[in-house]
Amino acid sequence: MTSLALHGVRGGLGRSALLAALGYALQGVGERVLLIDLCPDNLLGLHFNLPLEAREGWALAEREGRPYTDAVYEVLDGLCLMPFGNAPGDALHPAADAATWAARQVELAEHFDWLLFDVPQLPAATAGHCVETDVQVLVAEAEMASHLLLGRRPIERYDLLLINRYDPASRLQSDLLMVWRDLFRDRLPLQVVHRDEAFLEALACKAPLGHYAPQSLACRDVQSLAVRCLTRRQS
């Protein structure tokens, strides 16, 4: 079992969509995948056609005293989903702590090859507090805010820098990418996912990218990300 989480240098980088696409791509190469939503926004399920009003989730189950595993949906054969779930009118959720999830990872290990965590965007100082994973991917966009925030991150913690929504036609983006390649040359490998309209449309159709637009460039990028992840697979 290998666990993986996508961390953002800032919010709004399209991490949930990426994670959904990655889960779908991993399932496509024959892996057993569980996607776990740790964000109170409870959006990950929407990428897999869950009804808007669906409230079931691990957090809800926990609050109602049921086992957290009650809330697992089997989306496809070998692709499972555990939404966050939300209780009506309840704004404050218990923050899942790292120790609990470490124990749960061990419990889930025999059923899945991959646990993909959709983690909430937290301030840089507290990042990674909610769960510890085997593979930590840092997501950024080739723009100045990301560049500045990257400088403040301890990049040694991460295994891969993923540049989302990359557009080579933009002079700034291609220059920044060159700068980063030079800056992180031996310390952090880079992977690019191109800007693609299909990514935005996928959520509008409540489907992961690989299902909605299997021929798209972004989908191919995610597939090569999946292959890269496979090299980090821990038996």
Partner: protein, 869 residues
């Protein structure tokens, strides 16, 4: 089906038979009904299948010849193995047994042959590891220097004596037969062993056989009693002597190709030397020069150490404006003296970098060019020149007209793949005018580029070698260009080279003069002698006619003896050359190339040989297009005359066969075979003259590169780049993605880790194939585009791997087939008046061909049991 004589007449007439024919056939049907048991199942089965078994009669107007056709086809059907299951009779059983035997024997022989070849292939490695070899070399090392020299000396003397004996000893038929079988046996075994020693062994065998042949020719095949015989014989012998010289010199030249690797540069780019990159041009299009300059601008070399100059002898304003726009130097001179060499010499005077890189304006360098070549200049201070191959991304006239582009090595590949590499071994690789780097001090020491001849490149290199400078050759394509677009232009270029090389041979002969090593002399001499091949080739193409037409005994010996001497000479030379050159030129293709050029270089080289000062420089036209397919009658003319002469020779051969003395039959047959071979080789030369249409102005290079496509809607798709030119590209899209012509897109291309986007619009779509043209590209984007396509460091590597492996015998068959194709093309392109004249002949051929038996289509999948039911 039932045959009925009453309805038969109507049946025949409705199919268009003439009345008497219909009557006759009806009579035949009546007779058949009377005398044959047509209602029997066998006849019924045959009649039911008649459309399939007699395809030539299906739907044809019944005519008088049909019974003969039926008869021939029936015989054919009986002889051919039927796809239907049949009860085998005793005769066919025996036949099958014989065939089975033959098959198993053949399989067994092939099995043992395979095992033998396997063992032979392992032999060198096993020998190197063997105790015998270890002991022998230990023993040799143990000897004193003098003893070792003595040992080698005695060994050499013995070998030399033996070789002398092999060459000069006259043999009878049987002894000669034994001798050639022995040598051929050794050669056939040795050729399967890998490594260089077996190659040398093949060379030795071939040299012995060829020397023996020549010796025999000089000592016992000249008829001194008849003037005609003697004159013709001596001419042929002179031509053969020339071929022998070229063969032996070629062996020396290419026996040990150096295969030099690039040398490393210092880690600090600050220590890299400065380079002036010069692009001489005279009358070429700006479009052609632009790509070269853009590629040069992106060479991987420190900006401050690289200066690019366009040397424009045409003094065109557009070029000056372009040079200013992209920021490269622009040099013109007041006069156009000495063409390209003069142009370069003038530029030498106004520039000052340590090294000079020279590119013809249509040779696009790849980005790694300087990094690959300059290392050797730092390593060897006496190095004056590093040459790289001239690679062509468009087919030359031979490849285009014969349809062999990228399937078979082209004409230049032998020179750049093997000969220059062989020259490099002897420090004799020479300058080829483009795609090379030279040292300024070396050029200054010989007073600049040589201007005395029309091939200034080779002459410059020769002078530098005389001054003690060395040269290097890197056999890695680091630039590519357009090949000449028409056969006449190609021949024009070769005439210039031939004339120039012969001029050097006369004015600055490499065999004499000071400063060269023996092997350098050999290499240069061979390079120049090679261009004198015209006259000897013409002699070979007409030699058998001397006997058939003039009854001159050009080889005064019995026919069988001639075969026993000539054949092994040719077979050994082919085997050895196939082994040495197979990767770069397939056996017998050289004959085609040489034959095409022979007539045209014969005169200029002979003139240059006697009057070296004459001759002008003509520029090679490139980058054009052929509007429509045409036959170059002007080029083909001499070959048509030659072919006509040879056909006449064949006529004489038939005449001599019937009326001549019986003692001459063998000679006539051997001569006729030679004539037929010549005819086919001439036919191949004629095939080249049939020019194939060239549609595109900008040649598209086939490629297979991953790329991306971004549509105006923001959707992006992966795709494959399948071809490119300097104005557009062709893409292969995934299933299900449709684009309309005129759609605006962005193409994403990679170069190394960087990715570039180019604005383009769709021009045409055919299935999943899409053509794009670029527009609104900035200067930087143009450079990037050239670097994603033409100037990729790996763009021209691996072209060899697509070539079919050389197999001498198959190659011979292909060349001969090509000869036949040549005559067919001749018929295709015949002028109309000749065509009307030949129409009856064609009709006759067609009519005769209609009697040819056909193999019936196999029955579509069907169980025989169901069929009978």
């Amino acid at each position: 089906m039932t045959l009925n004589p009453l309805s038969a007449y109507a049946w025949f007439t409705t199919r268009g038979a003439q009345r008497p024919v219909a009557w006759l056939f009806t009579l035949g049907v009546a007779l058949a009904v009377l005398f044959l048991r047509l209602e029997s199942p066998a006849w019924q089965a045959l009649l039911a299948e008649r459309q399939r078994l007699y395809p030539q009669l299906a739907g044809k107007r019944p005519s008088l010849g049909d019974p003969v056709r039926v008869l021939i086809q029936s015989l054919w059907l009986l002889l051919r193995r039927q796809p239907l299951p049949r009860q085998p009779g005793p005769a066919s059983k025996a036949w099958r047994a014989v065939r089975g035997h033959w098959h198993t024997t053949r399989q067994r022989v092939q099995h043992y042959r395979g095992r033998l070849i396997d063992r032979l292939q392992q032999l060198p490695a096993r020998y190197r590891a063997s105790a015998f070899k270890q002991a022998a070399s230990a023993r040799l090392r143990g000897l004193s220097v003098f003893a070792r020299w003595a040992f080698y000396g005695v060994l050499t003397l013995c070998a030399f004596g033996l070789a002398l004996l092999c060459v000069t000893e006259p043999f009878g038929y049987l002894a000669q037969l034994m001798f050639i079988c022995l040598l051929l046996g050794i050669a056939m075994l040795v050729r399967h062993m890998p490594g260089r020693f077996p190659t040398l062994m093949l060379i030795v065998l071939s040299t012995i056989i060829s020397c023996r042949y020549l010796w025999w020719r000089y000592t016992s095949t000249l008829n001194w009693n008849d003037t005609t015989d003697l004159v013709c014989g001596v001419i042929l012998l002179a031509a053969e002597t020339y071929s022998w010289c070229v063969l032996i010199l070629g062996y020396i030249q290419t026996c040990w190709p150096l295969q030099r690797k690039p040398a490393n540069l210092p880690a600090n780019p600050g220590h890299w030397p400065t380079v002036d990159l010069m692009i001489p041009t005279y009358n070429e299009d700006l479009a052609v020069v632009r790509t070269t300059v853009l590629a040069a601008l992106g060479l991987d070399w420190p900006r401050e150490c690289l200066r690019i100059y366009i040397l424009d002898d045409g003094r065109r304003d557009a070029f000056r404006a372009f040079a200013d726009e992209v920021g490269v130097g622009y040099i013109v001179r007041p006069d156009n003296k000495h063409a390209k060499a003069g142009n370069l010499n003038h530029a030498l005077g106004v520039t000052d970098s340590e090294l000079i890189a020279i590119f013809d304006c249509d040779h696009v360098p790849v980005r790694s060019f300087l990094q690959m070549t300059v290392g050797w200049f730092l390593k060897d201070p006496k190095l004056a020149l590093v040459q790289t191959p001239h690679h062509f991304f468009s087919p030359d006239p031979f490849e285009r007209n014969l349809g062999s582009f990228r399937r078979r090595p082209n004409e230049g590949e032998l020179f750049y793949g093997l000969i220059q590499d062989g020259n490099d071994m002897w420090n004799a690789a020479f300058f080829c005018g483009s795609c090379a780097v030279l040292r300024r001090t070396a050029l200054q020491s010989i007073g600049g580029f040589a201007v005395e001849t029309v091939t200034e490149d080779a002459h410059t290199a020769l002078r530098m070698h005389r001054q003690g400078w060395s040269s290097a050759y890197l056999s890695i394509p680091q630039a590519a260009g357009l090949a000449t677009e028409s056969l006449s232009a190609h021949i024009g270029q070769r005439i210039r080279w031939a004339r120039g090389m012969v001029q050097i041979f006369r004015t600055d002969n490499p065999i004499f003069g000071r400063g060269l090593s023996l092997f350098q002399r050999v290499c240069y001499a061979n390079a120049m002698l090679h261009f004198l091949a015209g006259l000897p080739r013409l002699v070979f193409l007409t030699a058998p006619l001397a006997f058939l037409l003039l009854h001159a005994y050009i080889i005064y010996a019995p026919a069988l003896m001639i075969l026993l001497y000539v054949l092994p000479h040719m077979i050994h030379a082919s085997l050895t050359n196939s082994r040495m050159q197979g990767k770069y030129r397939q056996t017998f293709w050289g004959e085609v190339y040489e034959t095409v050029l022979a007539w045209y270089i014969a005169r200029p080289t002979t003139v240059a040989l006697f009057a070296p000062k004459k001759g002008t420089f003509n520029v090679t036209a490139k980058g054009g297009l052929m509007e429509q397919g045409q036959f170059d009658w002007r080029i083909a003319q001499p070959y048509l005359w030659l072919a006509a002469l040879n056909v006449a020779g064949l006529g004489f051969a038939v005449w001599r066969l019937f009326t001549g003395p019986t003692a001459e039959v063998g000679t006539v047959i051997v001569s006729s075979l030679w004539v037929v071979y010549n005819l086919l080789i001439i036919g191949a030369a004629v095939a080249v003259a049939a020019e194939v249409r060239q549609v595109r102005r900008a040649h598209r290079v086939q490629m297979h590169l991953p790329a991306g496509l971004v549509l105006a809607s923001g959707h992006a798709y992966p795709c494959t780049l399948v071809d490119y030119s300097d104005v557009g590209v062709g893409l292969q899209l995934h299933q299900g993605l449709a684009l309309k012509p005129g759609a605006q897109v962005r193409l994403l291309l990679n170069r190394g880790q960087r990715e570039f986007a180019f604005q383009a619009s769709v021009t045409r779509t055919v299935g999943q194939h899409v053509g794009l043209v670029f527009h609104d590209l900035s200067q930087q984007q143009r450079i990037d585009l050239v670097h994603c396509t033409f100037a990729r460091a790996d763009a021209w590597l691996g072209w060899h791997q697509q070539h079919e492996a050389d197999r001498p015998l198959r190659s011979l068959v292909e060349v001969l087939k090509l000869g036949a194709v040549g005559y067919l093309r001749l018929v295709e392109h015949m002028p109309p008046w000749l065509r009307t004249w030949l129409r009856p002949l064609r009709a006759l051929v067609h009519w005769l061909a209609s009697y040819r038996p056909r193999t019936p289509r196999p029955i579509p999948f069907m169980n025989p049991v169901d069929r009978d039911a």
